[in-house]
Symmetry: C2
């Protein structure tokens, strides 16, 4: 089986990119879309993010065989409630949320009896809203499915095929493990970036203007991540609390060790730590998960 009518609820960076990617990669598949914000719906119509933008969420999903909720994880419950009256009995309901345990619970509560296959495409930029999406967002990126144990195999396979068509490589894992993995590869990096950018902008002895001027020393990279959507990220931390706190405490332990090495002037420990990390970078580049050009190729444009 494969999907022929896809409904996208939430037309921001992720929802918009899915709509555009379906048009580019899945000829013949129809898309409908809805967003709670009328201004976003209007912009989505102008950009043609989906074939049909629908004003009512339940109407948007009425004939869909795949519904993808593309809203912040804190809004999944209300989005699920809004589509419930229109949902077909045999439709698959999926999502793109960055935490999976809490989303699985919210969808199961709001849509009893529905076929739920939560998903998380590990892709994005610091931009958000209906102007941010583009068709190639999922190329060479991983998409993680976290189907419950009783999910129908053919529907899991169809969702896998769907994401592969959009350019992703698909992995299946359980929701709990997903939340732990993403805490370290995504959530903690964002929390650290938001925090250090906040710290730097509130200093008294270093002006904000100085922080901006000399940001090319490393700081500017953190500001990109810290420019991500605040609502999305607030919801991630509210909904993946346990795993984030666990990983944060490991990071804090390691940072405390580095602090002590600096205080004690332990150059050997620092050198050893700083030497280990290059290998990881090399493998990320080799596996196509980042740009091989120095400085992300930024100098090519300067």
């Amino acid at each position: 089986m494969s999907f022929s009518r896809v409904a996208i609820i939430g037309l921001g960076l992720l929802g918009g990119s899915i709509g555009l990617a379906v048009r580019e990669h899945l000829a013949g598949v129809e898309t409908t879309g809805h967003d709670v914000d009328p201004k976003v719906r209007e912009r989505a119509r102008q950009r043609g993010l989906v074939d049909t933008v629908v004003d009512d969420a339940a109407d948007a999903v009425r004939d869909a065989d795949l519904v993808i909720l593309c809203v912040p994880v804190g809004a999944m419950a209300s989005a699920a409630e809004a589509i419930a009256p229109g949902l077909s009995a045999d439709a698959v309901v999926s999502d793109v949320g960055s935490s999976k345990l809490s989303v699985a619970r919210a969808l199961a509560a709001a849509l009893p009896g529905a076929t739920l296959i939560p998903a998380h495409p590990v892709a994005g930029t610091e931009e958000s809203g209906p102007d941010a999406g583009f068709a190639t967002l999922f190329h060479h990126r991983w998409c993680i499915l976290t189907p419950p144990e009783d999910a129908p195999r053919d529907k899991v396979a169809a969702l896998k095929k769907f994401w592969q068509a959009l350019g992703s490589t698909v992995e299946v894992m359980d929701a709990e493990h997903h939340d732990l993995v993403l805490a370290v590869t995504s959530h903690i990096p964002h929390l650290i970036a938001y925090t250090i950018v906040g710290t730097a902008s509130d200093l008294e002895d270093v002006t904000r203007s100085e922080v901006i001027k000399y940001s090319a020393g490393g700081f500017r990279d953190f500001t990109r991540i810290a420019a991500s959507d605040p609502v999305m990220w607030r919801d991630v931390f509210l909904n993946n609390r346990e795993a984030v706190l666990e990983m944060m405490d490991r990071f804090l332990t390691d940072l405390g060790m580095m602090r002590e090495a600096i205080r004690a002037g332990d150059g050997e420990l620092m050198f050893d730590q700083f030497s280990k990390t290059r290998a990881i970078r090399r493998r990320i580049v080799e596996q196509g998960q980042d740009d091989a050009r120095p400085d992300f190729g930024r100098h090519d444009h300067e």
Copy 2:
């Protein structure tokens, strides 16, 4: 006055880039260069990083009116000692070190009576060595001079002109303030990146392969910074200890506050914090200190 013969000691990313940039931007200015590593000297000759690669440090500076030490800050003292026998009485000695108080002290001790004007071009990539340099590294970047109070004005002006010719905007400040500013815009970001990449690669419940696969969620950006030269960065932390520890403690206080907000489920505090940080990003992009394209333009290559 302006410089007509520039000697570069250390032919890695920074030294090599200065050599190439002088050739591109300062016609008629001769360059000599030296590196303690014979393999680096050989590669520097092949790439033509400077007009003449010299095997002995003192010989390399013999007729130079500007000498720039481009070695890790922990190697400044020995580099200064090595050039001392060949140094002209009226030469200006400068450097590119990332910490300035400790370098000023090391140079003053090794070169009594010499004209010292420490400098720090805030530019770089994660690459290092004689193959890493390129002529445009300093374009649109800031270069900070930290001249001692008794530095001859005409020579400070000449060094300023030199860096402007290479494409930089020059700022003058005292060494102590420099070290505090760079602690927050460069040193702490690097320390955090090295630490979180270390934390992530040593986990038991999340494999290294998973960390690499799903790094596009934010982690990959940190690995770029954590791929920087380990010797250079060890030396930075050994030589800017006070300012780094001070800034780290402020960061740790803020991170503790975020930790508590997550523990307590305080979404309002998170939203407020995460909303403030977008403005800084916007100003960094407006002021030409980073790429305006989403995701550093990485998607343009995917």
